[in-house]
Symmetry: C2
Subunit: 327 residues, 2 copies
């Protein structure tokens, strides 16, 4: 099942089901008004949502309409928590080596994790407003899961069963603010504005065999201004989503609707390219001694998509630009 | 005006107004169901809330009842963001010196800030459930403000006008997990479980002259198992709440209801004691070469209170214990 949220000016928007081919949709506010409320009482609303999804696929859903990616917010426009890990080891290794960072982060046996803002996520076609290009605007193309309520100290095996939905997201990062913040030990605030989400969130069964070992085994394509910079295998995660959720909940509960990120997708094979410009710059530094790729400018566009075995878009492409605050 | 939230099993609870002396209360769900919804449309609901508060003080509010601190949740049981600064310079200086931390954090000209969980804050009399005493359970007694919507890049002078409410809180910390997390640069996740809040949130006018320069100039008393460990002047903040909010919103918006913390209260005068055990231990290490005070154990109790010039409790005391998970 694929779920999206129609923008209606409210903080949570209105829930819709979208067909597998992302062409048709139907409002399901008669079942539950928003995805926030749906994940808060998932077991109760799931059967009716699934029945409606089957009707939509069969062409027998009343009031179905053409799906318009420009009209959707993030599937979950605001979430109780946003915890992002850094789970692709080739990413961490390259960053540490190119930028002479502490190797401590490579030596731990648990996912690295930061907490970010989750009060106003952007939709797949929303431009991101930022105050300055000088901050080193970058993307981080990654996957995320939306969880059910997770009790404190849930172990990995049980944690994986808490995954309700899977999303694609762009964790926009301001690189020239990032290392400074990291050096203070308090995590990232100014270097991590909000995230841009895929058009739809999908239930794990929608991925079929590609969802296994707590990982999404599908290819991701990342483009900047129409030029491909990454053709990556998302399955190469150093930790599973079960392990990542378990790390997150060790001393806290996670409210239903918590979003947990994989961190920037990265592959050991350098020819796969990269899912963020910082890693591309790291590879350039390691090969040529200096970065050649610039960070993003206002007016630039980014496109991120994950395809299934049939070449069809799973989550609907993220395709967004950047705009200067106040213009 | 003093606002509290009655526990009713729902994530947001039910809004009530509490009298200045914390003895009487009246439900105001006929005006707005919860504080979350109130802060989302503050200007629209404020006049009716103020009128009801005046009626309560004058003894002419219908259906008023005796206020019971054991029945309230945190004033805002879930918030869109929780951003905590570390704004008392004597705290940072002592921690760096006693524990041989990097001095980088003492040299920056902006507030240090981390983002914590805001999906399930605890009420003033709620025991905090935690998995292990071995994590080094500690308190951090501090002040917080609840903001209106704050646009991106709002400057300090304008940011201060976004303060809707002021609260007292205990940002519980797990010290034996903290330095390890800080050393990785991603901020604190496992070392920062949730926070415990005061009984009521108060509008700034409630503090009178004690609310000036973006600071709360009132005394705080901190007790562990009935023994005073801190008698602190809250006004000694190195940064004002205007500066702290401005730092938080530099590259992001803050949704209405965002909670911004002062960080552990601390005074240059060592005889004032401390608002967390880690700083007490730091002072012991600096004086005697070793810490003498232990961290907290399950069954211990903490009491935190701020009093006004008349000796009356402003926010209602936080008075909570700690319980082992699963018992």
């Amino acid at each position: 099942m694929k779920l999206a949220t129609l923008k209606d000016g409210s903080p949570d928007g209105k829930l819709m089901i979208v067909s597998r081919d992302l062409k048709r949709a139907v409002m399901v506010t008669d079942i539950v008004p928003s995805l926030r409320e749906a994940v808060e009482r998932w077991a109760a609303v799931l059967p009716a949502l699934q029945e409606k999804a089957r009707a939509l696929e069969a062409g027998r859903a009343g009031n179905a309409f053409a799906f318009d990616a420009c009209k959707v917010a993030a599937p979950l426009p605001r979430a109780p928590q946003w915890l992002d890990s850094s789970s692709y080891k080739s990413h961490g290794r390259r960053m540490v080596k190119a930028f002479n960072l502490s190797t401590a982060s490579l030596e731990v046996d648990h996912p690295l994790m930061y907490q970010g803002a989750s009060d106003s996520f952007l939709g797949a076609r929303d431009d991101m407003v930022l105050p300055s290009e000088d901050h080193g605007i970058d993307i981080e193309a990654e996957l995320g899961v939306i969880t059910d309520f997770v009790p404190m100290n849930t172990k990995s095996a049980d944690a994986l069963a808490k995954v309700l939905l899977i999303v694609l997201l762009d964790d926009v990062s301001l690189r020239r603010l990032l290392f400074g913040e990291m050096s203070l030990g308090f995590g990232m605030i100014q270097s991590k504005p909000t995230c841009v989400f895929s058009q739809v969130a999908v239930t794990p069964d929608e991925l079929g065999e590609a969802w296994r070992d707590g990982r999404v085994h599908l290819p991701m394509i990342v483009e900047v201004n129409g030029r491909g910079i990454g053709y990556l295998d998302c399955g190469e995660m150093g930790f599973s989503f079960g392990e990542i959720i378990s790390h997150a909940c060790r001393t806290r509960t996670l409210a239903a609707g918590t979003v947990i990120g994989s961190g920037t997708i990265s592959n050991h094979d350098e020819s796969a390219g990269s899912a963020c410009l910082a890693e591309r710059r790291a590879l350039e530094i390691l090969e040529h001694g200096a970065a050649q790729t610039d960070f993003l400018h206002f007016g630039d566009r980014v496109r991120i998509e994950v395809k299934n075995g049939d070449g069809a878009s799973v989550f609907g492409a993220i395709d967004h630009g950047f705009t200067k605050l106040g213009t």
